[in-house]
Symmetry: C2
Subunit: 258 residues, 2 copies
């Protein structure tokens, strides 16, 4: 029987990235799409509280069953699992292909990865795919074989429980991608600045600008891999407990009220 593959993303159901991903997944199994009806970049692991959700069937992918949802990427996966698919359990959940990087610290802000992590905590094998290319019409041709191979490996061998895979691809260069690297999340961050402007009524508003700062000098991290034209795979946990910090706090802090 063909595997059942759920596809979502955060750039919205009309983006080139999800169209590419659906085309590739159709070669591997039966595909169902539940994706946001509008772009949701930077939504992190947001869910919709206090408002209901809309869910409408879409024929955008031809014979592939597809639904667009008014909610966040995490909402889409919840709706897919508990409403659209009901008693059918997907063999794989894939999210993306994101237009833009979700490497290192960007994983925290990523709607793409929140869909994958939401699926993982439902016990489903899940992968978020992202392309480090910010052009309006990015080139995905160089990553197709990698997306297919990584999805096949996940279907064959599974994904370690309690994790979702964060897969990032370098943008298309003149030489082909060098291969795949298993990585840890680079110790990097965004350094923000804010530009104040005045609206036509003289009231201030602020544009956020970020510079990416990578202070990680080692080679086993995702930034190094991407900078050297490799595909990076980081397995991401949703148990955030910092176990080493428990023993530090236990010895340094007084836990009794004075």
């Amino acid at each position: 029987m063909k595997p059942l593959i759920l596809v979502s993303n955060d750039d919205g159901i009309t983006s080139k990235g999800i169209r590419t991903l659906v085309e590739i997944m159709k070669e591997l199994g039966e595909v169902v799409v539940v994706a946001p009806d509008s772009p949701q970049s930077g939504m992190g692991h947001a869910i919709t509280i206090g408002y209901p959700l809309r869910l409408d069937e879409s024929d955008i992918f031809g014979e592939v069953k597809a639904y667009q949802c008014s909610g966040t990427p995490a909402d889409c996966v919840k709706l897919a699992k508990h409403y659209v698919l009901r008693n059918r359990v997907p063999d794989l959940v894939v999210s993306g292909i994101n237009h833009g990087s979700n490497s290192s610290i960007s994983v925290l802000y990523s709607g793409t990865m929140s869909a994958a992590i939401e699926a993982a905590l439902e016990g489903l094998p899940a992968i978020g795919f992202s392309l480090c290319d910010y052009q309006s019409n990015p080139e995905f041709s160089h990553v197709r074989d990698y997306v297919k191979h990584i999805a096949q490996e996940a279907l064959r061998h599974g994904i370690p429980r309690g994790t979702a895979l964060n897969v990032n691809f370098p943008e298309k260069k003149s030489e082909p991608i060098k291969g795949i690297r298993l990585c840890r999340q680079a110790n990097a961050r965004w350094q923000e600045s804010f530009e104040e402007r005045k609206d036509p009524n003289g009231r201030s508003y602020y544009w956020m600008n970020g510079i990416f700062i990578n202070e990680d000098k080692s080679e086993n991290n995702d930034e190094w891999a991407l900078d050297h034209n490799y595909v990076s795979i980081v397995p991401c946990a949703y148990d955030l407990t910092a176990h080493h910090a428990l023993s530090i706090l236990s010895s340094d802090w007084n836990l009794q009220l004075p």
Copy 2:
């Protein structure tokens, strides 16, 4: 010199929880508030992309400098660090007190904790406080001494680098809180269901409902602590790398294209 304490939250600048937190922090240092101008529950680690932010000074806290922001909790911390406070570095960042639990898996969806984690990845000691009480006018009196003590310990001893503390309080009961427990994140999750309704035009919409499912039977986790009337403290990492999964993938997967 008095320590500088930045206060934010996700329930919005007018909530009872942030007013309680500001009152307590005023006893410990100079307080600056930058908080959302409207409720942002469930926003996870969302940031505002593609739109500018509004930031307006507010006199809601009297002599305490306060600003309301149109963005998410993570936006508020970025604006505070890089615009409002400019060259001054806070000695402590506190977020909350959230109206509702952020224990176990809820940390992923939590706007309260996203403010704290955003501060932590800027290198600042940061704590998110949440009260497991869903009433419209919750009682905070039983947690005041604990909030103050935990903030004092953070100012004295710091918080392990790379982590933010997720502090949850049990709701007020007839007997006093038993004490503080250092915990790991419980292995629990939300099981969603969706209720379909029709709008006045006959179009469907869906309400999400969650049941909390805790399959964690051990005692060293935050759900156990809260169920037994303890304050739970979980140190949370923002490096999501699941190191154990790297070796599993390395041995099970074929990383070469066929």
